[in-house]
């Protein structure tokens, strides 16, 4: 697996690996680069890329995981987005959803707004915060081997799981999903619920 100039994993390769052979796993992409990353891995009705709602990606994952307990749900978001909704770590940990996996792509910067530093750049430990909240499986991922172990755990293990993947900060080319959000929700609902989704 290719690494960036900083020696860190590349975000697009990380997301591609996590969503490969996903076996119906649902994915929510936090606004900004993670939404483009899940789209670059292959746009799909199983993807809900977010154009807004900063701070709520993990909570959307919780609502979805509670509604669909037989399906795996992965939230892929950025460090800035996770920090804005960091209280949701407590909310999720109390509910202990066995089918929810939260993966933070941590480049230690606000990438969409000019690469200002986030709190993780200054040592704030999101893995430690998730562990203290009560996520039973929390990990820091820096290498390809750790990433593949994370993927194995998502495929065969139970949640809730929280992972921070340290990634190279270099921005990647934009790969934009549809911007009409009513389509994004309706296509995911239909993928989960069938045509009756639109008659609820």
């Amino acid at each position: 697996m290719q690494v960036g100039p900083t020696g860190k994993l590349m975000r697009r390769e990380v997301v591609k690996a996590l969503l490969e052979d996903r076996n119906g796993m649902l994915a929510i992409g936090g606004l900004g680069a993670p939404a483009w990353d899940i789209t670059a891995a292959g746009d799909s009705p199983l993807n809900l890329p977010l154009w807004g709602g900063m701070g709520a990606a993990a909570m959307m994952g919780l609502g979805l995981a509670l509604a669909q307990p037989e399906r795996k749900v992965m939230v892929i978001t950025g460090d800035g987005e996770m920090l804005m909704g960091v209280g949701s770590l407590a909310t999720i940990a109390v509910k202990q959803p066995r089918n929810l996996y939260v993966v933070v792509l941590d480049n230690e910067h606000y990438g969409e707004t000019g690469m200002q530093e986030t709190a993780t750049r200054h040592g704030v430990d999101l893995v430690g915060m998730a562990r203290a909240a009560g996520f039973p499986d929390c990990r820091l991922v820096k290498t390809e081997a750790e990433l593949l172990a994370l993927r194995d755990s998502v495929r065969s293990g139970v949640g809730p799981l929280f992972a921070v993947v340290k990634i190279d900060e270099a921005p990647q080319p934009l790969v934009l999903p549809p911007r009409e959000a009513s389509i994004l929700q309706a296509r995911m609902r239909e993928a989960i619920l069938g045509p009756e989704a639109h008659l609820q």
Binding site: L26, I28, L48, W51, G52, G53, G55, A56, A57, A58, M59, M60, G61, L62, G63, L64, A65, L66, A67, Q68, G85, G87, S88, A90, T91, V94, K95, A181, S182, L184, Q185, M188, R189, I192, L193, A197, Q200
Partner: protein, 181 residues
């Protein structure tokens, strides 16, 4: 004997149970909340119901995300909060608006009618205005008899027309907290 005064006092006491009955009638499966004293009886009813998943939030805007996620997965949700919590939700209302998804809210009012605490007044006075500024359909319930039809309308408009809606339960209905004064 049918005593109209007793009937009225039953309605006064029973409106939280009437809201619970409406949640069941509408098939609500997820309830997101930050507690408020005015909702305590309804919260107890929801917690005692194995078919309703109750999620206690750290801040109300989490509930907007939770209800959206529940809807993606085919479950109906509702957000219970105090008027002060409405202020925490404002930008997050862009999520159900842009996605065109239901987001019903049942709000107990503070800073509305006989308030004691100065900090409750700014948000209580602005609750309806800011919700409406964010495209939410808002209806108020001022008396016990108003509650069931108003909440019913709020749930129907959310799930039939795919948008944020809110019932504001007046402080006149709930009673103002007096802190012993």
């Amino acid at each position: 004997m049918d005593d109209p005064r007793k009937r009225m006092s039953d309605a006064a006491a029973d409106w939280p149970d009437q809201i619970y009955d409406l949640l069941k009638e509408h098939g609500i499966r997820q309830v997101a909340l930050v507690p408020d004293a005015g909702h305590s009886r309804l919260i107890k009813r929801c917690l005692a119901d194995n078919d309703i998943k109750v999620t206690t939030l750290t801040t109300e805007e989490e509930g907007i995300g939770l209800i959206f996620g529940a809807w993606l997965g085919g479950e109906k949700g509702v957000l219970l909060m105090q008027s002060s919590g409405v202020g925490n939700c404002i930008n997050m209302l862009s999520v159900p608006i842009a996605h065109r998804t239901p987001c019903p809210m049942i709000v107990t009012m503070r800073g509305d009618y006989g308030e004691f605490n100065p900090f409750q007044v700014p948000m209580g006075n602005a609750t309806q205005t800011v919700l409406e500024a964010m495209g939410t359909l808002v209806k108020r319930a001022e008396t016990p008899e108003d509650v069931a039809p108003t909440v019913n309308a709020t749930l129907r408009m959310a799930f039939n027309t795919y948008r944020p809606t809110a019932t504001l339960l007046s402080q006149r209905l709930i009673g103002a907290k007096t802190f012993g004064k």
